[in-house]
């Protein structure tokens, strides 16, 4: 059974795509077969891993539009061994509008993901709380919430938790107790001491649900997007690479505790 993880925050620019791509790459380099589902019509995760939207034969738009279409029919390998992607195309935005009239529209992705053969499925969500994000929430069993150090990110986090409560049909307390989510602080700049202090204070009640790994602001992460590579392949020794390595290890540790995963597998490229 695949473990399905949604990377969500309806606020834009919080690091969802960067996190999906680099966490996916890190998991693959750790030896876990991983699928990235690009559910953002902008298709940035697909582009970021070297898949040009204009050349793909099938995309997540087909999953939404064609009943009973399987993810395996649109998934394609990336340049990283063990990392596949179900790419997105701008058509996905139109497809999302068209499914509004369909019954059980929230379960389309969950159904398409049935029987996929991966260790992990990471879903990169669009910056909205529409039908695509609802599909991700319905399908996933764990949520990673990238959160920038800003006031609006905190507001977004509150809205998201309320939505999760509704879609997952669990109380806020259960959401907390059942270990369903983790907050990931991204683009952290230690020079912004006043903002950092305020935001961290606000997040204090969620310390237990916040990754210890912190993604520092790092220009190499932007440059890797241009190079269409995971950060480990673009600049393995930069802080972004280190931060995402730490995140991967912490993520796996949480996962082992939750699901009794086997011990760490040997790294394929030894970059972690």
């Amino acid at each position: 059974m695949s473990h399905i993880v949604a990377i969500i925050n309806q606020k834009g620019g919080t690091g969802k795509t960067t996190t999906t791509l680099n966490l996916g790459a890190a998991l693959a380099y750790q030896g876990y077969r991983t699928l990235i589902v690009d559910l953002d019509p902008q298709g940035h995760t697909s582009i970021g891993i070297g898949i040009e939207p204009d050349v793909i034969a099938a995309s997540m738009a087909d999953i939404l539009l064609v009943p009973k279409k399987r993810i395996s029919e649109v998934a394609m390998p990336t340049y990283i061994l063990g990392l596949d992607i179900a790419p997105a195309h701008i058509h996905l935005a139109r497809a999302a509008e068209q499914v509004y009239t369909r019954v059980f529209r929230e379960a389309i992705l969950a159904n398409a993901l049935k029987d996929v053969d991966y260790d992990f499925v990471l879903i990169d969500c669009p910056p909205s709380l529409g039908v695509l994000t609802t599909n991700s929430l319905y399908a996933c069993d764990f949520i990673v919430i990238p959160c920038q150090i800003s006031r609006y990110s905190l507001d977004g986090l509150a809205d998201l938790l309320t939505t999760v409560e509704t879609v997952k049909n669990v109380s806020m307390e259960d959401l907390f107790q059942e270990d369903l989510f983790r907050i990931l602080l991204t683009m952290f700049d230690k020079r912004n001491s006043i903002t950092n202090e305020y935001i961290l204070e606000q997040l204090k009640p969620y310390r237990e649900k916040t990754f210890a790994a912190l993604i520092m602001k790092n220009e190499a992460l932007n440059q890797a997007q241009i190079a269409q590579k995971a950060i480990f392949d673009y600049e393995p020794r930069c802080s972004g690479s280190m931060d995402y390595s730490k995140l991967c290890l912490e993520f796996l540790e949480i996962w082992r505790k939750r699901n009794s995963l086997p011990a760490k597998r040997p790294s394929l490229q030894g970059c972690l």
Partner: protein, 124 residues
């Protein structure tokens, strides 16, 4: 500092979330200091030994009582062992527990007595 003052009273949506409020009060309950040990040792009216035995009076008084009882038992054992000349080594407890300063003085004396005993044993 002036910048931070402008944050006062500004609540985020997250802070208003019922889950956040529940977690905050939970954390406050955990972090709030446990009930302080009885300060009765420091109040003018001294405690009885029974009150100290039942846990009132704090750790200092309990330690003192323990020490005195151990010494009393030791004295009794020495006096009752065969061949021992009965000596008048009875320990007289005061009627009431002394004030903390008195207890500290007694403990210091006990420590000094143990040092003297150790020195005596080494040279005997």
């Amino acid at each position: 500092m002036a910048k931070k003052k402008q944050f006062a009273g500004k609540k985020t949506k997250l802070a208003r979330l019922p889950l956040t409020q529940a977690l905050t009060s939970q954390a406050e309950a955990i972090l709030s200091p446990p009930p302080r040990p009885s300060l009765s040792l420091f109040i003018p009216e001294p405690l009885t030994w029974d009150e100290v035995s039942s846990g009132r009076g704090g750790p200092l008084a309990v330690a003192f009582l323990f020490l005195v009882r151990e010494l009393a038992d030791l004295t009794l054992a020495l006096q009752s062992s065969p061949g021992t000349v009965a000596a008048n080594h009875r320990i007289h407890l005061p009627d009431r527990v002394p004030q903390p300063s008195g207890i500290m003085q007694a403990l210091r004396q006990a420590r000094q007595s143990l040092r003297d005993l150790q020195s005596l044993l080494l040279h005997s």
